[in-house]
């Protein structure tokens, strides 16, 4: 790297420092600290002491607040294990559904004529032009007990079904919102698969199923890995979808974090600790995905 190009990278480094490194460092600091009340001698006054002193009318002297190192926040997250497991589980289901729906869709689009491809891609992206909240809110009115779907089903004598405020509704919201993030990377890798390569597979004895398993699937794996990442990460940390479609009974890890920072459970230290654990979980999941991807690619690098 020359001196000049290093200089050119400076704005990016500043950006990275301000918006990534410093916030991350702050989260780590918050996660491992807590605020305590101390008197003039430096003795920690617990909440109980404070309450009883107040009740008894005793004056404890001049009290100050102090930030101290603690592991309590991290250990406290274990209490939220069920929420974490539920988040992973729902995000996983949503990711698998996105893959199952997105893969054939992306493949079919990639085999269309160029102008049709453009049109289909636009249709895939069209919902994204609308505000995320609005889109999710629309599902609320559709899924409600007196919503459109139940009304329509009622016309043919079915229902009404309890659809809103279920885990199914949360997964539906995730699939609906994140499907384009699965289709687009898959599509972009699939358009690079030359038609003549597929013809060559047929020529060498592959029926359509074998052509898929021996050529299309291995060639599309990098797109699969990208798509999984792009759906799984936002799905596991979402809080809007679960709040609007899950009705509070299906709290996800995102809701929990939101609650610690902006909600009535205000405790940024715990919130930071949960965020940190979530980050670790995501990194673990991604490394598993990448390991699978690399294993399958053994014996040939990809373009």
């Amino acid at each position: 790297m020359t001196r000049k190009s290093r200089f050119l990278a400076a704005p990016y480094l500043v950006w990275l420092a301000i918006f990534t490194i410093i916030p991350l460092a702050l989260i780590v600091v918050f996660a491992f600290t807590t605020t305590v009340t101390v008197d003039e001698t430096g003795r920690i006054i617990t909440a109980e002491e404070l309450l009883s002193a107040e009740a008894d009318g005793v004056v404890l002297g001049e009290l100050t607040e102090k930030t101290v190192f603690t592991l309590d926040n991290i250990t406290a997250t274990s209490a939220y294990m069920p929420v974490m497991v539920r988040s992973i589980w729902l995000a996983l289901i949503a990711t698998v559904l996105c893959l199952v729906i997105g893969y054939p869709t992306a493949y079919l689009i990639s085999r269309l004529t160029f102008s049709r491809q453009k049109m289909m891609l636009m249709l895939v992206m069209l919902p994204m032009w609308m505000n995320f909240l609005l889109r999710t809110y629309a599902w609320m009115t559709l899924l409600e007990r007196n919503g459109w779907i139940n009304k329509l089903l009622g016309l043919i004598g079915l229902g009404p079904f309890e659809m809103i405020n279920t885990q199914g509704a949360v997964v539906l919201g995730m699939v609906y919102n994140y499907l384009p993030f699965m289709i687009l990377p898959l599509y972009s890798i699939m358009t690079k698969i030359d038609n003549s390569v597929l013809e060559a597979a047929g020529d060498l004895g592959c029926n359509p199923i074998k052509t898929f398993s021996r050529v299309v699937w291995p060639l599309s794996l990098p797109g699969v890995a990208t798509g999984i990442t792009m759906v799984f990460v936002p799905a596991i940390s979402t809080f809007i979808i679960s709040r609007m479609l899950g009705g509070g009974t299906n709290m996800l890890i995102g809701d929990l974090i939101d609650l610690q920072f902006l909600g009535n459970a205000y405790n940024p230290n715990l919130g930071a600790a949960i965020s940190l654990v979530l980050m670790a979980v995501i990194l673990l999941c991604m490394s598993i995905t990448n390991a699978l991807d690399n294993e399958d690619m053994e014996g040939g690098a990809l373009l």
Binding site: D194, S196, V197, E199, A200, A201, G202, D203, L204, G205, C206, N207, K210, R214, V215, P218, L219, M297, G299, G300, A301, L302, L303
Partner: protein, 372 residues
């Protein structure tokens, strides 16, 4: 020369059109055992479509494709006993050289041991031993080409289809691969159906050349037949270089063109029938002016190595002449043609055939499609 041999593939008057545009019009063709057949023609003539009909990638609208007398028209490519070498190789980018070649054998469930020996042998034949573990994307064009050929041949196909396989290679490599392919075909006794637009390639390698234009077969014959006895003006023009002139047949063995009557060998035309006259540039002898009926002014002289290429203006016509003796531009010179070098052809139905003019001289020199 192949009449006595067993027909392996027969195309029975196949036609095909894409989006209303006719690409193949009533094409019939017999391909024999161990034959090296070349489909030759300009781009868009239907040669690749013909090949793809045999490979199974195109289903003809009408007509039939027979393999050893049985129709294979409805069979998908993976059920046909033929293999293809694709125009741009179409190697599998996620597999190494060995796995690319082994692909067909793996699909058919051949035991690993047999795969190893057959792939090894095939890599030997295409001179790629030691490349087994290489990534196909790291190979040169020539090497990729060899992998593509090995990948097709390792399956012991009855017929190998090759779609302009040497098109992307440089001239020297192309010449080497032409000889190589011919050697492989002889050694393995396989029928090759080879598509090219390069007439020199066709003449060098083939047992039989099929000249195509506008979805129709123009002529089928040995390279010698095609070159020496072109059936029509298109073939004459496409194979080698030719002077093509409009003429009128007065009676048997007497034809008028370029303002004069000439003796010729052909007969059997209607009286005063308009015809095309084809004269090869190397068949024209230069003489001092005034001896022959045809005299012209030398326009340009280009040295071509073996001969000089001259453009000579005779009245308003432009003639292309190859001669070992050079003339000087501006010189008036006589042109001598013997009756056996005048080829008279039925007026071709094609609306327009490229004629040599002074303007096209640059293109001519650049094109370099000289047979000599």
């Amino acid at each position: 020369m192949n009449k006595s041999r067993n027909k392996i593939i027969e195309l029975k008057s196949i036609s095909k059109s894409f989006d209303g545009e006719t690409v193949l019009n009533n094409v019939s063709l017999d391909i024999h055992d161990n034959e090296f057949m070349t489909l030759l023609g300009p781009s868009g003539c239907g040669k690749t479509t013909t090949l793809r009909c045999i490979g199974g990638f195109v289903i003809p609208d009408s007509g039939d494709v027979l393999f050893n007398g049985k129709s294979i028209k409805a069979l998908p490519p993976y059920k046909r006993p033929v293999n293809t070498v694709f125009q741009r190789y179409a190697l599998f980018p996620h597999l190494n050289v060995y796995e690319n070649v082994a692909f067909g054998l793996r699909v058919s469930g051949t035991p690993d041991k047999e795969i190893a020996s057959r792939v090894g042998k095939m890599l030997d034949i295409v001179e790629l031993e030691g490349f087994e573990k290489r990534d196909v994307n790291s190979l040169s064009g020539g090497q990729q080409q060899r992998v593509a050929i090995a990948r097709a041949l390792v399956n012991n196909p009855h017929v190998l289809l090759l779609d302009e396989p040497l098109g992307a290679l440089d001239l020297k490599l192309r010449k080497e691969m032409q000889i190589e392919l011919k050697k492989i075909q002889r050694r393995m006794s396989i029928t090759f159906v080879y598509v090219t637009h390069d007439q020199e390639e066709a003449l060098t390698m083939s047992d039989t050349v099929v000249v195509m234009n506008r979805g129709e077969i123009q002529q089928i014959g040995t390279p010698q037949d095609i070159y020496n006895e072109p059936k029509n003006a298109f073939v004459a023009n496409f194979i080698g270089e030719s002077n093509i002139l409009p003429g009128i047949m007065h009676e048997d063995h007497l034809v008028e063109f370029a303002g004069n009557n000439f003796e010729c060998l052909e007969g059997g035309f209607a009286p005063l029938e308009p015809v095309d006259i084809v004269i090869r540039p190397e068949d024209i002898k230069l003489t001092p002016p005034g001896i022959e009926v045809l005299n012209g002014e030398v326009q340009t002289v280009t040295f071509k190595g073996v001969h000089y290429e001259m453009i000579i203006k005779v009245y308003s016509d432009i003639w292309l002449v190859h001669s070992t003796k050079a003339a000087t531009p501006g010189e008036i010179i006589g042109l001598s043609i013997t009756p056996e070098d005048i080829h008279v052809m039925k007026k071709s139905e094609m609306p327009k055939i490229t004629r040599y003019t002074v303007d096209s001289e640059a293109a001519l020199t650049k094109g370099g499609n000289s047979v000599d």
